[in-house]
């Protein structure tokens, strides 16, 4: 299971968490408990 960066779209908290493509788990912000968690992108795509 690899560790990746997540960003909470509710409170803006950025954290590292586990990620497994085969075993999807419910993403929850450790700070505000929101489920609006986005996988942080290394390089944002150009418009």
């Amino acid at each position: 299971m690899e560790e990746i960066d997540y960003k909470c779209m509710h409170c803006g908290n950025e954290y590292r968490g586990s990620f497994d493509k085969l075993i999807p788990i419910e993403r929850t912000c450790p700070k505000c408990n929101s489920n609006s968690i986005r996988r942080a992108k290394k390089k944002p795509r150009k418009p």
């Binding site: 779209m9 803006g12 419910e26 489920n35 609006s36 795509r45 150009k46």
Partner: protein
């Protein structure tokens, strides 16, 4: 089991595995591999002559490795059918034949070394999943010394040691010196109710009563034996269980609330010592025992993922199969025509397993006797003119209710209405609007968005709520008179998986400042795993909004269960705060950008369609 084996209407397939399951409720096609047992089932009368001459010995799995069996053996004394089986991994004479002693002594010529696996196809109307459970392996828990110290055994191994049919014929002895132990400790919750990564967080339900039963059995057979039970809580709920607990206390079993930190072995006596804090008496005591029994918990079957995949079942976070509804459909699986019984669904004792199995059998009987089923009107419909046969919908359907489709041959997909449960994920994922979700059509939902945003859209929060959980959460918040802002406008869908990207973009284009997509928690999704597609879609939408220069934070995602009225109310308060921060300029920019993006996309689609049309218009003879 004997009755089952003899029943004229029950076809019992032992030593067999399910290879594939196709079809749907009322019309399942099950492919079974009946493995070669190398002994003729019909002829073998279990005379045991073959076993006597077999020169190979292996650990007996049924006796937990405490005794040996031969390569040709009876799996356990009460096995049905009462027929021998030849383990081809251990047998010397299978391929090439080097031994063959069993075949020589078998008077009925039952041994067939050339027997092959048989593939059987069954057509059945209903399936009951009763795949049972496995036992937690405490090897990784170094503190209890299991596998390091011989006198530390699991409750399963203990069962074999005290069983009349066990390796010692019921004479209870400890493994190191073959003497009956005088002081025995039972340690409860081994691998259960643990936050450790090597344990399980849930209560295994049966271990407390199993220990109480074992302690009474020992007290009865060996008067004077000292038994100590170390526990967190004794959970003796159920008819007569508390009485049994009190009886064991009266019989002299000592119960100490506290678990040992570590077990040490005396290398000479092989006795086991441990330091335990009694949290009731508030004392720390050093104990010594002759034998320790680890009361291990139960876990889902290690190979349950195969049957889960074949039957499109979902599991709860602890890995057991999830029922369709915990209160109203406790034995129904989410897939129509599939029922659950026993520990496949959750850890339970014999009585509960029999109760559930009876209910599952009755549910299956109702279905089969009716001979027909009523399906809900909320199902998908394929618009064959628009379908390109790309099969995206086939991939996303949690119930495998969409079949066929070929993009190259332009063959549209087909919906199996009996299997479709109406989540709408297919309609949301279709790029060609070729799937129509009855009662939750695109135009119906778009009309709701238009109605919400027709007046003062900047003052409203558009909320998509799934029928089963989030909408229930909103209901509970209302019924409980919880106070929250009135700016939210709810659009109900059967599942959050139905929320199409275009609904979200349309709402923003119409001036919605904040939008929420809400659904069931992961483990509670009523459509197996349809809400996983919601997450993927929202992830893509966040990317798109950011690409267009729109703050992605304006789209929120929350899992709210029907019991989480408070979470609903709190979420609405948070959304209202976020809504107040969205400026009119931001909304206007969003509307402009999304309108341009949509027009561009429509122009592209139109051009593509025109190109297709022009290709069609060229007569064949001109090309020739």
């Amino acid at each position: 089991m004997m009755d089952v084996g003899r029943h004229s209407k029950i076809n019992l397939l032992t030593y067999s595995e399910i290879e594939n399951i196709g079809g749907y409720i009322g019309n399942f096609q099950v492919t079974v591999r009946k493995k070669a047992r190398y002994v003729d089932e019909k002829e073998c009368n279990a005379c045991a002559e073959c076993e006597k001459v077999c020169p190979v010995v292996a650990a007996d799995e049924f006796q937990e490795g405490f005794s040996l069996r031969k390569a040709i053996y009876m799996p356990f004394p009460q096995a049905v059918p009462s027929v021998y089986i030849l383990d081809d991994k251990d047998c010397l004479g299978h391929n090439p034949i080097a031994c063959g002693k069993c075949a020589e002594v078998c008077e009925k010529n039952c041994i067939d070394f050339d027997m092959k696996d048989e593939i059987i196809t069954l057509n059945v109307g209903a399936i009951i999943t009763a795949t049972g459970m496995d036992v937690y392996d405490p090897t990784e828990m170094n503190e209890y010394g299991y596998t390091q110290y011989e006198n530390v055994v699991t409750s399963m191994e203990f069962e074999r040691l005290i069983s009349a049919g066990g390796p010692t014929e019921g004479h209870f002895i400890r493994p190191t010196d073959r003497e009956t132990p005088k002081r025995i400790a039972f340690i409860q919750c081994v691998g259960s109710r643990s936050n450790s990564p090597i344990g399980n967080p849930y209560c295994s339900n049966i271990c407390c009563m199993n220990t109480i039963k074992d302690s009474l059995l020992l007290m009865d057979h060996y008067p004077g034996i000292e038994i100590t039970v170390f526990y967190i809580d004794i959970r003796a709920f159920g008819k007569g269980f508390e009485d049994l607990y009190q009886r064991s206390k009266q019989a002299g079993v000592r119960y100490i609330r506290g678990l040992p930190g570590e077990i040490f072995e005396n290398s000479k006596t092989k006795n086991l010592s441990m330091l335990v804090e009694d949290t009731v008496a508030n004392t720390v005591t050093d104990f010594e025992f002759d034998m320790v029994v680890l009361s291990v918990g139960v876990i889902p079957r290690r190979d349950s993922d195969t049957i889960q995949r074949l039957l499109t079942l979902s599991t709860t976070t602890d890995g057991f199969f999830m029922e369709s509804h915990p209160k109203l459909k406790p034995v129904d699986a989410p897939t129509g025509g599939v029922f659950l019984a026993g520990c496949a669904e959750s850890p339970k004792d014999v009585k509960d397993s029999v109760t559930q199995a009876s209910a599952a059998a009755a549910r299956a009987q109702i279905l089969l006797n009716a001979g027909k089923i009523s399906v809900q009107a909320i199902t998908s419909q394929v618009l064959t003119d628009l379908c390109t046969g790309c099969q995206v919908c086939v991939k996303v359907c949690p119930f495998h209710a969409i079949t066929g489709g070929d993009a190259k041959l332009k063959i549209p997909v087909e919906i199996v209405e009996a299997a479709c449960q109406g989540c709408g994920t297919c309609a949301a994922e279709c790029n060609f609007d070729a799937l129509l979700m009855r009662h939750f059509e695109d135009k119906q939902i778009i009309s709701q968005i238009d109605a919400i945003t027709s007046e003062n859209p900047s003052e409203k929060v558009v909320v998509f709520a799934c029928n089963w959980c989030s909408y229930g959460g909103a209901d509970l918040a209302g019924l409980s008179r919880m106070q929250y802002p009135t700016s939210q406008r709810v659009i109900k869908t059967m599942c959050s998986g139905r929320v199409d990207s275009k609904f979200v973009l349309h709402a923003f284009e119409k001036g919605a400042p904040i939008l929420l997509v809400s659904g069931c928690h992961y483990a509670d999704c009523h459509y197996i795993d349809a809400n996983r597609w919601t997450v993927k879609r929202v992830d893509k939408l966040w990317d798109k909004l950011e690409r267009l220069g729109i703050r992605p934070e304006r789209l929120q995602l929350e899992w709210i269960s029907a019991a989480e009225g408070q979470k609903w109310a709190n979420t609405m308060k948070d959304l209202e705060k976020m809504r107040a921060q969205v400026t009119q300029e931001e909304i206007e920019y969003t509307m402009k950008v999304l309108k341009e993006d949509r027009e561009k996309s429509e122009a592209r689609k139109k051009k593509k369609a025109e190109m297709k049309e022009s290709v069609k218009e060229i007569p064949i003879d001109v090309i020739a």
